[in-house]
């Protein structure tokens, strides 16, 4: 019974999003969406992927990582090298970008397993900086002046990547593996003593999160005409972090909503970068002081509908118990 219901919800949301996709596609084709709005849509999509991928690392597995710009940079540069230097097609470049980033996730994930909390945060921050400085010093990718990239990112690519990211992360979270990750977030020592291979799951979460950040990097790189190492400093990491924190640590739909909301805010504040950063930092501080669980807490949008429905399986379970 529950699987049918879940499947129904799944197909419902898939068809809704396909309708949304078609509407936007028609609007773009008909020329009613000017490039400014198109660009905003692309940004929203890229930020959703980034927020969802960081959500898997911080919100689900509880590994406080603030080096996400490093993964983004690896993906961006790897995919740009594929299209611009090796002349591969765009989809191959995206996948290579994701894989390169996942490899970086493995490399940083394995040693950082010995670290917890603050130390992990600072180590990942250091990792992001190391990536940036390495890119600065590699002449093959243009050093500080950056690399020319042709504009290949289009609305269907962004949309498809967003949907795949959300489906994969959603299914991973509700699978056995996801539950293992959640148990690590709640209490690592207890999870370990219950026989969960914490090392394995932390590395897996890092690798999957990095993979999608790499995909986002590929889209990001091909949305501009030039990429530079200075685009991927730790301010970028903080930008991604605030999406997850505002949405709620542990809520995928929260991360998605925050990505949409903050991208729109950012777009309107484009001419006032200082004001934007002041607002961001105030949001972080006020959020932590008054609502540390974020806008959504660990709830998902779907669970809100279930409660209203009255005959959801959760309620049945409660009466049975």
């Amino acid at each position: 019974m529950t699987t049918i219901k879940r499947a129904k919800g799944f197909w419902l949301s898939i068809s809704l999003s396909l309708i949304f996709f078609a509407v936007v596609q028609v609007l773009i084709g008909g020329g009613s969406l000017n490039p400014f709005y198109q660009n905003t849509l692309m940004f929203i999509g890229i930020n959703i992927i980034l927020a969802a991928s960081l959500h898997l690392i911080i919100g689900i597995t509880g590994q406080f990582s603030i080096g996400h710009a490093g993964f983004l940079a690896v993906g961006a540069y790897a995919s740009a090298v594929m299209t611009m230097k090796l002349e591969m097609p765009f989809y191959a470049a995206l996948i290579v970008g994701g894989l390169a980033s996942a490899l970086a996730g493995l490399i940083i994930g394995i040693p950082s397993l010995r670290l917890k909390g603050d130390y992990l945060a600072i180590a990942t921050l250091g990792f992001g900086e190391i990536v940036r400085i390495m890119l600065l010093n590699i002449d093959y990718v243009g050093g500080a002046s950056g690399m020319q990239v042709s504009h290949l990112t289009t609305w269907p690519w962004v949309f498809a990547s967003v949907i795949i990211t959300i489906i994969v992360i959603r299914n991973f979270t509700s699978s056995t593996h996801g539950r293992a990750c959640i148990s690590i977030r709640e209490d690592e020592t207890a999870a370990d003593s219950m026989g969960i291979n914490t090392t394995y799951y932390k590395v897996v979460a890092f690798a999957i999160g990095a993979f999608f950040a790499g995909i986002a990097g590929g889209l990001y790189a091909h949305n501009f005409y030039i990429i530079q190492p200075s685009n991927f400093g730790f301010l970028k990491s903080f930008d991604i972090l605030i999406l997850v924190v505002l949405g709620g640590l542990g809520s995928l739909s929260g991360a998605v909503l925050a990505a949409i909301l903050l991208t729109v805010v950012t777009t309107f504040l484009q001419d006032y970068p200082e004001t934007r950063m002041i607002i961001y930092s105030l949001v972080l501080i006020v959020m932590m002081l008054y609502r540390p669980q974020g806008l959504m807490g660990t709830k998902e949008i779907t669970s809100m509908f279930k409660r209203k429905g009255g005959s959801s399986h959760e309620k049945n379970k409660n009466t049975a118990a």
Partner: protein, 292 residues
């Protein structure tokens, strides 16, 4: 000779790192919080020093003292407003708040005065060059090192001989027990922030005089490197922060001397990751088992 020259530069830079690292390590020792805003206190100190010298027309020592006082007050203010309400919150919440405070100071400062850099006046300290055995030593670097050493000695005296130092050590050992013994934990924590921030302010003035150029985002990288220095020496241990700072400065100077000056900033983080993996307790720390 070139090598010795570089080593002297490294020690000057390292003493700046050491002064900032002391603040990190003291705060971490007492409230277990990485105070990301500490690098920005350093920046504010540098600007206060700059304005005291140019606008108020003061000489080096008064400017240093004003900067230290302003930074001490600023540090206490940050602690009272942002960190105190979060004392029993999760570590992640405290860390995110610290990141937020850091960004707020940086961009608030840019909002108020603009992002343009300033040039420190270079007639504050004598700039003579001594030649000792073929190595020319700038009198500034000697004075800078001297000021740093004096401040560190004063800190050691405060921590080990004074009443507030005793309270600080008690609170960092066990805050609850200290409270039961009649120690005012809140005031002790504020005092720790004040002392740490004053040292960062002094480091800011020294940095300005030595490197001439200052700007609102200058605190970020030295702040992170000072944290690396604190971890290198063993976080929470005061002598560790001093040695870690000096060591990091020397390592950076050696990397520059070897011709890899573009990789200088990356080296600090490589050192951090290596230390965290192979020696997480730092050079001076004792290995502690985690309690369940």
């Amino acid at each position: 000779m070139e090598l010795i020259q570089q080593l002297i530069n490294g020690v000057s830079l390292g003493s700046i790192y050491a002064l900032i690292a002391l603040g990190y390590t003291m705060v971490y020792g007492i409230v277990k919080l990485i105070n990301f805003a500490h690098g920005d206190v350093f920046m504010v100190g540098s600007f206060v020093g700059f304005y005291s010298i140019t606008v108020l027309d003061l000489s080096f020592i008064p400017a240093l003292l004003i900067s230290m006082t302003v930074c001490a007050l600023f540090g206490v203010l940050i602690e009272r407003i942002a960190y105190k309400p979060l004392r029993n919150a999760t570590r992640i919440a405290a860390l995110i708040t610290a990141i937020g405070v850091s960004l707020l100071i940086e961009y608030g400062f840019i909002y108020v005065r603009g992002a343009q850099p300033e040039a420190y006046p270079n007639d504050v300290l004598p700039t003579e060059k001594f030649d000792i055995l073929g190595v020319s030593i700038n009198s500034q670097s000697v004075l800078i090192f001297g000021v740093a050493v004096v401040l560190m000695i004063i800190l050691q005296i405060i921590v080990h001989k004074s009443k507030i130092g005793k309270a600080m050590r008690a609170v960092s050992f066990d805050a609850d027990a200290a409270k039961l013994m009649g120690i005012n934990v809140n005031n002790t924590i504020s005092a720790t922030f004040a002392i740490g921030s004053a040292l960062a302010g002094a480091a800011g003035v020294i940095f300005g005089i030595y490197y001439i150029k200052i700007e609102p985002l200058m605190g970020v990288l030295p702040g992170l490197k000072a944290f690396v220095a604190a971890v290198l020496g063993g976080i929470g241990i005061i002598p560790g922060a001093m040695v870690g700072g000096l060591l990091l400065g020397v390592i950076e100077a050696l990397v520059s001397a070897a011709g890899y000056s573009l990789w200088r900033d990356a080296v600090a983080f490589v050192v951090l990751i290596l230390i965290l993996i192979f020696m997480p307790q730092g050079l001076f720390g004792k290995n502690k088992k985690e309690k369940v």
